[in-house]
Symmetry: D3
Amino acid sequence: MLYNIAVHDMALGDEIEGFYLLSAAQQRTTNAGKPYFTGVLSDRSGSVELVVWDFAGGVTPEDNGKVVKVRGKVSEYKGSRQFAAQRFRLADANDRYDPDELVPTAPIDREAELKEIEARIASMADADYRRMAEEMLRRHRDSFLRIPAAKSVHHGFVGGLLMHTGSMLRTADFLAGQYAEVINRDLLLCGTLLHDLAKEREFDFSPLGLAVDYSLEGQLLGHLVMGAREAAALAEELGLPREKAVLLQHLILSHHGEPEFGAAVRPMCAEAELLHLIDMIDSRMEIYAETFENLSPGAFSARIFALDKRIYRPEES
Amino acid sequence: MLYNIAVHDMALGDEIEGFYLLSAAQQRTTNAGKPYFTGVLSDRSGSVELVVWDFAGGVTPEDNGKVVKVRGKVSEYKGSRQFAAQRFRLADANDRYDPDELVPTAPIDREAELKEIEARIASMADADYRRMAEEMLRRHRDSFLRIPAAKSVHHGFVGGLLMHTGSMLRTADFLAGQYAEVINRDLLLCGTLLHDLAKEREFDFSPLGLAVDYSLEGQLLGHLVMGAREAAALAEELGLPREKAVLLQHLILSHHGEPEFGAAVRPMCAEAELLHLIDMIDSRMEIYAETFENLSPGAFSARIFALDKRIYRPEES
Amino acid sequence: MLYNIAVHDMALGDEIEGFYLLSAAQQRTTNAGKPYFTGVLSDRSGSVELVVWDFAGGVTPEDNGKVVKVRGKVSEYKGSRQFAAQRFRLADANDRYDPDELVPTAPIDREAELKEIEARIASMADADYRRMAEEMLRRHRDSFLRIPAAKSVHHGFVGGLLMHTGSMLRTADFLAGQYAEVINRDLLLCGTLLHDLAKEREFDFSPLGLAVDYSLEGQLLGHLVMGAREAAALAEELGLPREKAVLLQHLILSHHGEPEFGAAVRPMCAEAELLHLIDMIDSRMEIYAETFENLSPGAFSARIFALDKRIYRPEES
Amino acid sequence: MLYNIAVHDMALGDEIEGFYLLSAAQQRTTNAGKPYFTGVLSDRSGSVELVVWDFAGGVTPEDNGKVVKVRGKVSEYKGSRQFAAQRFRLADANDRYDPDELVPTAPIDREAELKEIEARIASMADADYRRMAEEMLRRHRDSFLRIPAAKSVHHGFVGGLLMHTGSMLRTADFLAGQYAEVINRDLLLCGTLLHDLAKEREFDFSPLGLAVDYSLEGQLLGHLVMGAREAAALAEELGLPREKAVLLQHLILSHHGEPEFGAAVRPMCAEAELLHLIDMIDSRMEIYAETFENLSPGAFSARIFALDKRIYRPEES
Amino acid sequence: MLYNIAVHDMALGDEIEGFYLLSAAQQRTTNAGKPYFTGVLSDRSGSVELVVWDFAGGVTPEDNGKVVKVRGKVSEYKGSRQFAAQRFRLADANDRYDPDELVPTAPIDREAELKEIEARIASMADADYRRMAEEMLRRHRDSFLRIPAAKSVHHGFVGGLLMHTGSMLRTADFLAGQYAEVINRDLLLCGTLLHDLAKEREFDFSPLGLAVDYSLEGQLLGHLVMGAREAAALAEELGLPREKAVLLQHLILSHHGEPEFGAAVRPMCAEAELLHLIDMIDSRMEIYAETFENLSPGAFSARIFALDKRIYRPEES
Amino acid sequence: MLYNIAVHDMALGDEIEGFYLLSAAQQRTTNAGKPYFTGVLSDRSGSVELVVWDFAGGVTPEDNGKVVKVRGKVSEYKGSRQFAAQRFRLADANDRYDPDELVPTAPIDREAELKEIEARIASMADADYRRMAEEMLRRHRDSFLRIPAAKSVHHGFVGGLLMHTGSMLRTADFLAGQYAEVINRDLLLCGTLLHDLAKEREFDFSPLGLAVDYSLEGQLLGHLVMGAREAAALAEELGLPREKAVLLQHLILSHHGEPEFGAAVRPMCAEAELLHLIDMIDSRMEIYAETFENLSPGAFSARIFALDKRIYRPEES
């Protein structure tokens, strides 16, 4: 009997006991009228089909996104691995397992990233933008450290928003120096920090922190409008001058670039233009990075939905 | 000497004294180096070119949109009428003239329209939506009675927003009955009342109340986002349930229908869908009405920019 | 044994005899080489998978859209109900069943709707448009009472065209009053009545009256061009003045609004503009109504093909 | 004194008497209050500005498109030639001039072209399509020989439709042979002959035969729908089988290829597809030919509106 | 036992031995853990599912596109024919079979087509363009005779490029005569010959000559850019004047017409415009021809991906 | 008499002698038949209208873009300054003036920028890409130091290409570090250096080095295709591996991002994606910088053609 081995390493014939994440759960009935249960088990290393033939209840399709304890054997079905569980129950408060092992997590040192962001905020010369940044970070700190930046397109893992924002801030800081003639560094840094914070309310999250679907506000308002509204309210509270408050909202509202890509308005100042392009760069590069994980050098990917094209991984990159 | 006659009625050779609106003002110099002044005089009946040869100062191009007192004679220049003023000064606090004669005004009884709107609000069954409507109307009452609904496309006259909103509310009420199965009448009426209120801050207005240009917020945020923000704040203040607050914001944010026409999100509930179509109907019908004013029956208009097409006025409509 | 129970009410284990509509019929062969038959049985309440293991012939895939008599038992297959028939034959002239029970039908009183339409026509002041409307209705009366307005998008049930047209006429009449300055009520009402009449020849219909596919003319000419041609011919016959005949054709040809949505020309008069928007309103509201039938309050639908978006059903609409 | 010299050859200082076409006519008043008259004189060789200082009436702006008799002198104004007329009147029934000298005319032998078309029709094997072609040509013969194929884009001269159709028929005949496997020659030839015949009613024509503007039917129905309607009526009269009548209408309705370019339906049979492409070829080649008339070898044209691009004339083509 | 019978003619129960093309090959494992092999067998007449239950190795999924020798029996599985092979191995150098029987091949006399093309080249008056054509044909002769013009859209068979080019050259020659005023026949013919030659390097080909996927250069550069580059290099080598070299490249680079359809630049000379339209005609007509092979007269096809529409095959074409 | 004062500083009444750049030159005739000459004089500081009443010849409109020596007086005409020249001739080889004073020039130290670029190339680890970069720079050095990057949109001044490329290389180097996981620094740097080098042949340049119009190759081939071709030829000469040669061409061909913006292919590798976005950033930021030169803080610009929108310059940026 093996314990808690990574899903990626499960081999035909292995007998295993451990904690895994449940998804795609369905309760079904055999031709003979007997209930059985199917679903998918996963951890951060991968996923495997689950079947529970002698299903005695205690778990339902509503438990998708929760952790289960299983005991069983790896077999094969139609060319894929299948985990046939003899024992199957929800994990409870007494169980011991590491949640971070069960979901994909950003490949960075999250505490260090946060410190770097805080140092960058502290370096802002404009007190208005600096206070906005500090206070927004204070209010969102917990979710900012943990939530993904998307459901699946890119950065769809725990800590994704932190990784995405930290990376963009580094680029923003560099480009603010490169184009100091037209760019207000503090406005750009503050807008970059704030631009996606409202994703916290755009999604409904699973117990382990992944985005499972859009929330009511996420669908009907969108994170751009929600983020701009929060920025406006805080700017009022902190007494920012009118123009600064408007510019910050504008950066948030326009960071998708064009209306057909979700921008509420098109970028009309240099910092908004740049924020949009920095966002494009970081999201595109992450899509390449995530695609390369499953792509051999010298090969083309399948068509990538978010890009509407195939991409190529050079042999010697 | 004629006094305050309508611009439309000025005839070649008339000597006139009166108050008119100044626009397109430019101070220039003759080849001989003498300063002179040109511009346009208008009232609600039409406009005429202005020239002041013996210009002694006291008016500048910054006075566009203000009222001037002129005395002079109507002549002709390159086939058009031209008002050559001998006397020319800004109107001041002691002058007596009727501002409503100087700008185009909605062809309705504004007080009656407002009463009908208030009665319609009072008839709303849902106390949450009714209180939202009442309070928003209370806060915006003055501007709501007076501001245009646009710079020029349609309803670009004093009282235009009131006329546009009142007309849409009548249609909304009718259609809420027609489609009672899917439409919540109170949500639709409330969203219709609120949808354009933020135009108050989208434009800069001339002293006499016309929209002369977009404001900073109007350009960088837009009246949809500003309107949704105000609705959200008031909904919080009044303690509306979350869904109602979100739906009202959604109606405001989506009333332009598609992102390429300015919607921050696409309509996703039946009331938002209907509000958008009612807005289309009222703005289109007004464009036809305003075009017909200068179009003979049986003729085609020139290309209308807002519609990107020519329109036809039937002989017997 | 149960008789003619609604498909929606069939439960596991029920033994049933009755008349149902056959679709998706396929004759197949088991691994053992034995013929069997599969398809779908439906009535206006819903549908269920059909399987006939001991298939003795007498029904073929060409019989799709016809009524069959079945006797059998409700079992389950892959999580769905399946009707396993022991007896299976086409209904014939001697069988007694109510066709209206077997297909979805407009949820209105069709006779009353027709009377209302006739009264509205009788109220038209312009004798030319009134005679056009009366004569077209006289010629199309039978199909107008019965055919759907579409294959599936909206109003795809028996009586759908009548329901759609009646509803649009009510709105047209209201808006003709609201915008009397630019709208000729009689032209608008007449165009509304005529706009979809040629759907009678756009589709091939099943024996029970549903639209099963586009006809040759429907594909190669479309109902807009066919409808305009019929209107032109009748206008000539009745001696309508040239402009009226052209305007009526124009309303029919342009009622889809934009060429990419099927309009042969863009609307260029106020009545054509309005007819298009009224058509949009009625079809959109019906899509919401039909979607709500299978959508819980507080939930989002799946993506709706005809709208290219998901829609939301509020909790308290 | 020179008589009736070509406008292209008028030189500074020439004194000239002759008949020319009047356009852009305007009656105006000098600063001194004296009436004068301006406009443009043209013949098939070119055009020149007209001014009549001592204007004594007898011609009005409504006479645009008519022939005038002038006597005067060629001078220069702002760098362009200007014809200053001392005598100026409308041509009347007693005047002798050659209308074909006054308007641009197709550079072909029109009688020979018509004979070739008739021979091609006579060669059609399918009696139905042949009778359609013969009868349509019989009915439209006069206008077919004379009208332009457009206002200005291409073939905008007398005989333009004949030249365009004749050229397309030659190509159609060749390609019907090339793709005999999928193309019905007689359907393609008949559709090609008919495709633009309704241009006769799409435009209002000047007395000398140029298209001056769209007619009411031209704007509200378009020549595709009008042409299809006439074909349908004649097909009925001649008793054509249903499919042939539908296909002919389809070719006419779809010959602009895509809805955004004016097609009422997209081409769905091989002949319709080919007709559209042949129309593209002939209109494009004529645009090149007309552009080359004023373009030196080795040079690029200005942006051509109908193509939305500049074109190049090779040095050695 | 039947030998090498056409796949199209295989009937249930037939015992067969022969050589066929292998594709879609997969090695799999039964529930019982036994290896088996599935794939598709095809020849130019059609294809059939393959299963090898007692799979002893010797063939792998990498052998897709190769020829195999099989011996087995035709059975049925889920309504389709299935070839169950008892013997199964790769064909080797000693085996005797006709490759042209195994892949679809252009329905033309390839040697005759080539001769006609050579004669047309020989007839070119301009020595520069003629030498370009002769030399390019000399260098590409082998592949030109054999490769398809596409993966699947049209002309996706052995000899497809030759058939496509030959057909286009005939049309080009005809139209060069028809539009001699603006078209340089030799430039057009030379550009037509060259336009697709680089397809030789755009695809990876299977051993029997079909295009199986895009090559690295095909994806990252495209056949337009590769073709233009080769033409430029040869033009330099042969000492063509600058304008001729540029024009030839331009024809190749622009022959897809619009950037969204793959053109590197839009056509800007008459020959480029015409080449694009001739390419459209030949590819469209071939799509119709290939679709008609499986479409009954009087029927509509399913939606064709490359055209984004259904097409109709007339009853009497 | 003032000598060679900056055009920007010319004041009404100044008498001036000096060397300026001539453009918009036209030779005209007064009503009285006397020849005169008009045009525009400019230097790097601005431009002024020119008129030469007593024109004695010696300069023609073909001399646009050349330097002239003028002597005259600044007056005013229709509200603008006008330079009325008494003496007027072309500058010749004996004249002494500084060409860099006469045309706008990049606001950078060009020698230092070039050194930084050379150092960056020298730091490349991959010998293939480094040799490509070195050799291309060696071949293009002269034009690279001098030509503008565009006619007018951005960087349209002497040294513009150098400034644009140098700035992009700094950003590319930074981002290659930031995204080292997916980006090959040497490929990105090499592609960045090469991406616009073919602009040298895309334009025709004036004697002082501004781009006056597209060249034949520039219009018919474009700088992307020309640049890729040169890179391919050099890669062959230097013996680069196939993949590296293809990737470099791909970066050049795709750097405009989308076909509708001129890309011959869409970016399909990470470096191509990034190069496109870096190009966007640098060109957009330069458009903002150039617009800000004539825009007050707190104001909106007029609509900018290249961006299809207005932009805002914040008060405190």
